[in-house]
């Protein structure tokens, strides 16, 4: 087992372990903190896959943005009865459903014959991604910025207190 494989298993264990914390934790605040381990583990997986820029984006956007937002929301809506986080479906049916999906998807993933090439050595990806964003993908890129602007304004409109109304 090479050192890369060992590192992969380490980060996969971190990712899956904290994802279990998110899924099975009883306190929603602990789940939110466990989500950080998952995001960092996924970022490390991206780096292992040679996607250095994407790993940094993952840390910035998820850990720096989405996670902080989530923890804010948890704390703003925190009450004694919320932390119990009682189940909608119940654990057993959820476990059965996830288990069946897991078994079936892993069976498909391991039995399929993927057409794979031999990956080369990791190279810096930032120039290529920048070229693609301003070349082939310039229209989706611009639409993405409009979507982000709309989401920003929408979030402000939704969450502000209505002063004039009422």
């Amino acid at each position: 087992m090479s050192i890369t494989t060992a590192v992969f298993y380490l980060f996969a264990a971190v990712t899956v372990g904290s994802a279990c914390g998110v899924a099975f934790g009883r306190n929603i605040l602990y789940s939110a903190f466990a989500l950080m381990g998952t995001f960092l583990g996924v970022a490390a997986t991206f780096v292992l896959l040679g996607a250095d820029f994407l790993g940094v984006v993952q840390v910035f956007v998820y850990v720096g943005g989405i996670l902080v937002l989530t923890i804010f929301a948890v704390m703003l809506t925190h009450r004694i009865d919320v932390q119990v986080s009682n189940r909608a479906v119940g654990r057993l049916p959820g476990l059965v459903l996830s288990g069946v999906v897991l078994w079936w998807m892993i069976r498909v993933a391991t039995s399929a014959t993927w057409v794979v090439g031999q990956p080369g050595d990791p190279v810096p990806t930032t120039p290529g991604i920048g070229d693609a964003f301003l070349g082939t993908y310039v229209l989706p890129f611009e639409i993405a910025s409009v979507v982000l602007l709309a989401a920003l304004i929408g979030a402000i409109v939704l969450s502000r207190k209505e002063v004039g109304a009422a």
Binding site: M1, T4, T5, F8, T15, V16, A19, V22, A23, I28, S31, A32, L35, T38, F39, V42, T45, F46, L48, L49, A51, L54, Q58, V61, I66, L69, T70, A73, V74, T77, R79, D81, V82, S85, A88, V89, G90, G94, S98, V101, I106, A109, T110, W114, V116, G117, T125, I129, A132, F133, Y137, A144, V147, L148, A151, L152, G154, A155, L158, S159
Partner: protein
């Protein structure tokens, strides 16, 4: 040089997806459901990047992953704003108690 295969990453993404699915199905807390959705989006991203690395896609997979991250950020902002709005009018974020459209 590298004995990691595509299967390693696909299986990791599958496990992450199923944990996210479990989270979405069993939580009644709206924020918990959003967290499960983030897990599912992350597993999809791992698949995108893994297939881009082991296939012949060039940068396409990573660029789609960036778009997914962007949409996840927008979704989190809007979703949490809606959750806060629900909390203001219902005093709870239990998704089974919030069954009225009128406040």
């Amino acid at each position: 040089m590298n004995d990691l295969t595509l299967g390693h990453f696909v299986v990791l993404a599958t496990i992450l997806f199923c944990l996210g699915l479990f989270c979405v199905v069993t939580r009644r807390n709206a924020i918990g459901i959003l967290m499960g959705i983030e897990l599912i989006l992350n597993s999809a991203n791992i698949n995108y990047v893994a297939f881009a690395r082991y296939g012949h896609g060039g940068y396409d997979g990573q660029i789609f992953a960036i778009f997914v991250i962007m949409l996840a950020a927008a979704e989190a902002a809007i979703g949490l704003a809606i959750v806060l709005g629900i909390y203001r009018s219902f005093e709870t974020i239990d998704v089974e108690a919030t069954d009225r459209l009128r406040g």
